[in-house]
Assembly symmetry: C2
Homo-oligomer: 486 residues x 2
Amino acid sequence: MKNTHQHSLDFLFHPNSIALVGITTTEPWHWTRTFLEGLIEFEFDRPFYLVNPKGGEIKGHKVHASLQDTPGTIDYVIGLINAQLASRLVEECAEKGVRAVHFCTAGFSETGEEERIKLESELVEVAHRKGIRIIGPNCMGIYCPQSHLSFSPAFPKESGPVGVISQSGGNSIYLVRQAALRGVLFSKVISYGNACDINENDLLEYLANDADTKIIALYIEGIKDGNRFRRALEEAAKKKTVIMLKGGITEGGARAVAGHTAALAGSRATWDALCKQLGIISVGSLEEMIDVLVTLLFLPLPRGRNAVLFGAGGGASVLIADEFENRGLRVPPLPPEIVAQIREFTPVAGNILRNPVDYSQAAMNPEAVGRTLNIVSRWEGTDFLVTFVRPGQFPASQISEIQVNFLMSRFSMKQGHFPKPVAMVLEPSILPQEAEAILAAIRGCISSGLPVYYSFAAAANAINLVLNHTERQSKRVLGEDSGSCS
Amino acid sequence: MKNTHQHSLDFLFHPNSIALVGITTTEPWHWTRTFLEGLIEFEFDRPFYLVNPKGGEIKGHKVHASLQDTPGTIDYVIGLINAQLASRLVEECAEKGVRAVHFCTAGFSETGEEERIKLESELVEVAHRKGIRIIGPNCMGIYCPQSHLSFSPAFPKESGPVGVISQSGGNSIYLVRQAALRGVLFSKVISYGNACDINENDLLEYLANDADTKIIALYIEGIKDGNRFRRALEEAAKKKTVIMLKGGITEGGARAVAGHTAALAGSRATWDALCKQLGIISVGSLEEMIDVLVTLLFLPLPRGRNAVLFGAGGGASVLIADEFENRGLRVPPLPPEIVAQIREFTPVAGNILRNPVDYSQAAMNPEAVGRTLNIVSRWEGTDFLVTFVRPGQFPASQISEIQVNFLMSRFSMKQGHFPKPVAMVLEPSILPQEAEAILAAIRGCISSGLPVYYSFAAAANAINLVLNHTERQSKRVLGEDSGSCS
């Protein structure tokens, strides 16, 4: 039935006019207001209308009593009404010439209740009969910065290369907000919920062929057509880098999936095997997904697994080396001739010149830092550099201005300044008095083109995942792995 | 040689007078200032003296030209001088009647350089000859809030039940600061560095018999006397709960250990086996150590592994259920009669009453939240409750006042209010404009006696580690595991 709609979904991302139907007129913090805030904040430059039988005005925008009362044509509707009213809204939409409705509304099949499952079936039936496409229900819809469309006012306004398909609205918001803090930008993000009409396969096929999307990140809970999904993944992975987080891989998680989006879950083993076979990066959490995105976008591909780690703190050096080697990366010892070069301008006490290079005392000398990084990056044994700062280990009562300046001076070196790729571990602080200085340092790193990780483990894990993926891909190209690809 | 000192180390923690020898007179942000800031901030109420040949004054405190110039007796010295001057300082200390010297100074055996290794041997020789105990060198020394002694002004002033033995200074600072934000307080923390005299065994034996210490957390890089360490661990584990993080478990990490504290490392397998056998909780990172401390201190021991998870967000519910079940905890389905009870006052749309309980819509109603938690906590299938809030998934441009009030109202329920233990996952924000509100919410939870975790994975992991430990311990008591205990 779905396959009768073979046309591109392009129109979903570039509506000429929008109506928000069912926005609350009385509660400023109500969830339905988010969509209006998104349109205002993103300066949506085509007509949009608010609809609520109560009428009135919100933030200077007239509220129309019904969809029919709105002037002009509308091609995209965001439905914020009760589930019981959904089918009727679709009928009204048909009269108004609407092409697609995104139902944010919950209370359909995800409840597991029979009458609610029936409500969803009815909705699909009406929509198909009227030729209207549905996104959702029970989801946040579309974020497309290029067309000034956003379901959160907090998202970045600039476009980027990452396309996201997320069954969950909350997870898509979390992903975009947290990834944006690390410099990741998005082409199109779709939170698609119950997928009663437009589903993960439609969206995957679309993004695989979308010129603005270079990387596809998937949060999938369940799928309805396994064979088509497999084909769509395989095609997408040939054209783009694909990262997948499968939710519901345990019994408890699968039950939550059944509750949430009314789709079937698979086992961990099934999904991991599928990802490996199709050349997809499989991740276990949203945090890991963001770390992988940051690595793909900001770390020029290292030619191998040998890291030189550089930072301050003997104990921190031990722990970061363990984290890296535990995850299949290597922290090779610096040869004596390299140590001798650094020792020429680096005091003995408090600076341990092995690998990691523990520059505890000399760290406050930006010139020495630069010279040392230059020397280790030119060593043939180095494939990439990782610098690390853990403000939480400083004994001062709070991060001082001097320390922040030091952070900034150290990391103002742009990606490409050294002949090897550079990554940065900078642990954030949850203390308000420190958060600002550290966030500024993080932003400085990002604008210098550096991947920033929040912990030793996160950096090691993401770099390893990306290296694993590229190693598999090059074997695939060389044909060594072709058997498992068919 | 060490064993000639059989007396208690109690005097180290309660010095009657202190001299800081080698504190900088010119650079306010220099690391040597930290110790003075600690004494001032902690209102050290016995005499303390500053010593630097340059003389002068720091923050109203006279700087004496030498140790001999200080009036009165001194029983504890913090050495901040160059490594080359260390032995001479010990000679001077002997004349002054000093009982112990903590050398913060680096530049000894940890450099791996022959002449520096010799400097350390000479230091030990002089100290033993003069009957003076040495802490370090290359470490931060002692934090003991009870006696107003702290190597950081940022540490909590209140005492608590956790004793820490950490080879690394930076790791001890990190541990105390980050754990304190979660409500963990300390009896005594010792950063002991190169352990040229007082070592991990002395300290472990001391804390095992210290009435103020209920839990011992160890960060160990290498040990010099394996048999004694094993015996000390075994004895300590019989009296206290012991948690160990072993640094240097990989080749790269072990090389960093060799650089840092000149001690030998062991393999991961060796350490894990030892911990299991001795009834010690083994952790892989400082973050994990803090999570375990929080669990031991704030989560009344659950009688089993069945969790009811309660929060907002369908996607978040799926991910937290996966994290819990992936780590051997169980998220059992709620039976229909429990669901029916909750459904009486909980709207269908946007609230999924399974387990996790996804209270996306009803979450803003504190009364409904309380009633639901009460119902699920009284269900016989529940061993403990976990509530979760992930502010990063909120679409608003920043966490609003209403949202914060909601957080606070939801979590003002004290530990013990329900018949089952309650844990809380509250993800912090690194955004300055959000950090304050969330930190206040975290502090509210702590003052209500709740364990707070920063992520789904962290909560699941720590609760599982503690349950594993208590299960092993009860088998041990029952004699089922006695064979491996001998």
